[in-house]
């Protein structure tokens, strides 16, 4: 655990840290909706800190306008507590990655991997829960009453006249890349550490 890691894993950790940067500049997730009346599609990009509707923000207004008929709450940035902590947490992770690059031991890498997995799963759950609650917290006074629903987390789904698609976007792929880099770093350093441990454990 205490054995320092090699250059390869350090490089991979640095790469992982760099791969966190897109989370500040490009969307994590993209929702796309098509309907006969919306051939060009309505788009919603979810960043780590903001919502951006397609057509210069117009699509958010349009999605909210349509959703008010089924009693769904408006999608507004204030609702997304994630926007407050996500950029901060990503920053902390980045700093921890860099710390591991410098101080790097197998233990650090393992900590980072565990932390990162936890962060990823929590974020994903948080996002899924958000979708779930938007789809389930429908005003009882809605003009159009529909059974509560879960929008797709990943993939496509037909909801009334809309084809709804939900897919990770660039920043999420980068975060995924960071995860891979982390796993690879862990694997490499673990292997070396084990080999060294084996060598050290051998008589002499």
């Amino acid at each position: 655990m205490k054995s320092p890691i090699g250059l390869g894993p350090r490089g991979l950790l640095l790469l992982a840290a760099l791969l966190l940067v897109p989370a500040y500049v490009s969307p994590l997730w993209r929702l796309t909706m098509f309907a006969p009346q919306y051939q060009e599609g309505l788009r919603l990009d979810i960043y780590s800190y903001k919502l951006v509707g397609g057509h210069h923000g117009q699509d958010t207004r349009e999605i909210n306008l349509l959703n008010h008929y089924i009693g769904m709450r408006d999608l507004v940035a204030e609702d997304f507590t994630e926007f407050k902590w996500l950029p901060f947490v990503v920053g902390v992770l980045g700093l921890l990655f860099l710390r591991a690059v410098v101080l790097g031991t197998v233990g650090h890498v393992l900590d980072m991997a565990v932390l990162y997995v936890y962060f990823s799963l929590f974020s994903l759950w948080s996002f899924a829960y958000k979708l779930w609650s938007y789809g389930h917290d429908l005003a009882p006074t809605a003009a159009v009453k529909i059974p509560p629903f879960m929008p797709p987390l990943i993939g496509g789904k037909q909801l009334a006249n809309f084809e709804v698609y939900s897919y990770p976007a660039l920043a999420s792929y980068a975060l995924g890349g960071a995860a891979l880099a982390l796993v690879l770093a862990l694997f490499l350093s673990w292997r070396v550490a084990r080999r060294e441990a084996a060598a050290a454990g051998a008589p002499g």
């Binding site: 207004r61 306008l65 003009a143």
Partner: protein
């Protein structure tokens, strides 16, 4: 015996007569030669069908802006499909878009609810359509400007002082410095002056006006007016290239006749085209020259010689059209059956050499023989000429009911195509610019009888699309329009960049609001302002209570930013019908003169809950 002899003779005569009748006879044909619908070959029909077919979802290659005549509107067509895309109301209220019902458009229409719109003029840069504005004249001395960014009428200029029967209009100069107005029905000026009709020849005046157009905003103002003889000023065109700087206007009734004009105004063999040096007119006006008539300075060519000249033209000319290269001015004598090509250089030489054959009210008349290059025998009733890219000209023949294609320079007529029926103006693709496109030409016909399903005595007009891309002109398509296109212009679609919603950030209306929370009623004495939000599917406030005797202004903002999400505001039992486009604010002010409860609702279908978009204006009795 004698008798017996006689009978057979008579019998023979009868038989011979019958036989002769049968032999020579045939009856008179039931239709004129060539009138039977040309049995077009199947392949021709297929070619025409393919050339005009714009598949669902595809877009046309050209816009055609057709004047609406006394409907006071402009119709927008797609070419080659000839589909009617929209109607732009200009001089007439149009409930479909709420035009003429809200405060602003009502004010723009002024005291008129009609106008006779004839000649659209697309704005030009260097003699080519630039897709910014469309100007259109109207007989009550007005010219309107339509902004092609939103296809809306933005300004109505006039009625201009001293102009009476503004038919010879609106023809813009190559860089849209000016549009022109002119009097088709001379009157004594200033307006309001009395003079008996018998004094027509001396006391009645023709007037032309240069309408200055602001290069940035398109806003119109009166540039100058020129006093002209009391002829009936009819059509016009601005010079281009070498002839840039001149306006040409045609006139009939150089007889200065009154009464039954169809006879009295058709006695002389020649009428006139006037050439006005508008740069000189501009300079004269700038120098403060001219006499004040009707509140404006009017330049009298008798007192200010050297900038107005008359060109004799074939009897009762209609169209006067400058060729793309600006070298020739084509004048068509409606009752002469010829089209004259005047050479601009020769006109300049004749002016320099004072090569005059007379004068009218102090305006020199240039010698016809000295300024003409050719008389083209185009056919009967030539009216108006448009141009192709390859030196060909196309002249409409009203009496012949046909279009003649002829070559500039060689002056030979090379083809004719019949029109159904009685063509007036014609419009070729960018056919009056410095670079005509060819391809398509539309004949704007006056009569349509028998070419469409019967719709009662009020007949639609006919606009026929002709293929001019090949040597032979070919009729492609019949379209029928509402009354009554005169001239039209055809512009390449990619030159126009139209918006589909009004961007919120451009809305500077002082009463605009963007949140239902800001909607509500404010009162100052008996002045009530209702700030309302229109958005799917509520008009907020949903009810408004006022008192009899109040003056209420509804300020309606459609806060949508989505294409096609228009909302209406119809107030029942009131003459109030407003349509507000996405991002737009409109106001309507009502003097509340009776108590009661009046429903208002969205008139322009918007959403599944459109029906529910309604409310009440509740008026307490005094």
């Amino acid at each position: 015996m004698d008798r017996q002899m006689r009978f057979p003779k008579r019998g023979v005569a009868i038989v011979a007569l019958l036989g002769g009748t049968l032999l020579l006879g045939r009856c008179a044909p039931s239709a004129p030669k060539g009138s039977r619908k040309a049995p077009a070959a199947a392949s021709d029909l297929q070619v025409a069908a393919v050339k005009t077919y714009v598949p669902p979802g595809d877009l046309d290659e050209y816009y055609m802006f057709s004047s609406g005549g006394h409907s006071g509107q402009v119709y927008v067509y797609g070419v080659p499909s000839m589909r009617h895309l929209s109607t732009i109301p200009v001089f007439t209220p149009y409930p479909g878009t709420g035009y003429g019902f809200d405060d602003e458009s009502k004010k723009m229409l002024g005291r008129f609810t009609w106008g006779d719109a004839h000649h659209p003029a697309l704005s030009e840069t260097s003699g080519d359509y630039d897709g910014r504005w469309l100007f259109i004249n109207e007989m009550n001395g007005r010219v309107a400007r339509i902004d092609l960014r939103d296809f809306k009428t933005k300004e109505i200029f006039g009625p201009a002082p001293n102009i009476s029967g503004n038919h010879g209009s609106s023809f813009v100069t190559p860089n849209t410095e000016y549009a022109i107005m002119s009097s088709r029905f001379p009157i004594p000026i200033p307006k309001g002056t009395y003079a008996p009709v018998e004094k027509f020849a001396t006391d009645y005046k023709g007037v032309a006006a240069g309408i200055k157009i602001d290069a940035k905003t398109g806003a119109m103002s009166l540039g100058w007016e020129v006093l002209l003889p009391p002829f009936d000023w009819d059509l016009g065109d601005a010079g281009k290239g070498p002839s840039d700087g001149w306006f040409f206007l045609s006139a009939y009734n150089s007889e200065r006749a009154t009464g039954k004009l169809e006879v009295t105004a058709s006695q002389r063999d020649r009428d006139y085209i006037v050439a006005i040096d508008w740069r000189a007119a501009e300079k004269n006006a700038r120098d403060g020259k001219g006499d004040v008539v009707g509140g404006v300075k009017v330049l009298d060519p008798k007192k200010l010689p050297g900038f107005v000249f008359l060109m004799p033209c074939g009897k009762s000319p209609h169209g006067v059209d400058v060729t793309p290269d600006g070298k020739w001015i084509i004048g068509s004598g409606k009752l002469a059956g010829i089209t004259t090509a005047f050479n601009f250089e020769k006109i300049q030489t004749a002016i320099r050499n004072k090569d005059f054959s007379g004068e009218e009210d102090g305006i020199p008349v240039l010698k016809y023989e000295s300024i003409k290059d050719a008389e083209v025998q185009v056919g009967l009733g030539p009216l108006h000429t448009q141009f192709g890219p390859d030196g060909f000209a196309y002249t409409s023949l009203f009496v012949d009911s046909a279009i003649a294609k002829w070559k500039l320079g060689t002056w030979e007529v090379v083809d004719k195509v019949p029109m159904s029926y009685s063509i007036g103006h014609l419009a070729a693709a960018e056919g009056d610019t410095v670079s005509p496109d060819g391809k398509y030409l539309v004949g704007l016909n006056k009569l349509s009888h028998g070419r469409h399903l019967p719709v009662g005595p009020s007949q639609p007009e006919s606009s026929q699309l002709v293929d001019i891309s090949e040597e032979k002109m070919k009729l492609l398509y019949d379209a029928f329009t509402e009354p009554e296109p005169h001239y039209a212009q055809i512009i390449k679609a990619d030159k126009i960049h139209a918006i589909e919603v009004y961007p919120k950030e451009e809305n500077k209306h002082p009463l605009a609001i963007w949140d239902v929370k800001d909607a509500g009623v404010t009162r100052q004495g008996d002045r009530v302002t209702v700030k309302a939000v229109l958005v799917r599917s509520t008009i907020t406030p949903t009810s408004v209570e006022v008192k009899e005797g109040d003056t209420v202004t509804f300020a309606l903002t459609n806060i949508e930013q989505t294409t096609d999400e228009l909302h209406g505001f119809g107030l029942l039992d009131w003459n109030t019908n407003i349509v507000v486009d996405p991002g737009e604010t409109k106001t309507v002010t009502l003097k509340i003169d009776r108590p009661g409860v009046f429903p208002y609702y969205c008139t322009n279908f918007c959403s599944a809950l459109h029906q529910e978009m309604q409310g009440y204006l509740v008026v307490k009795p005094r």
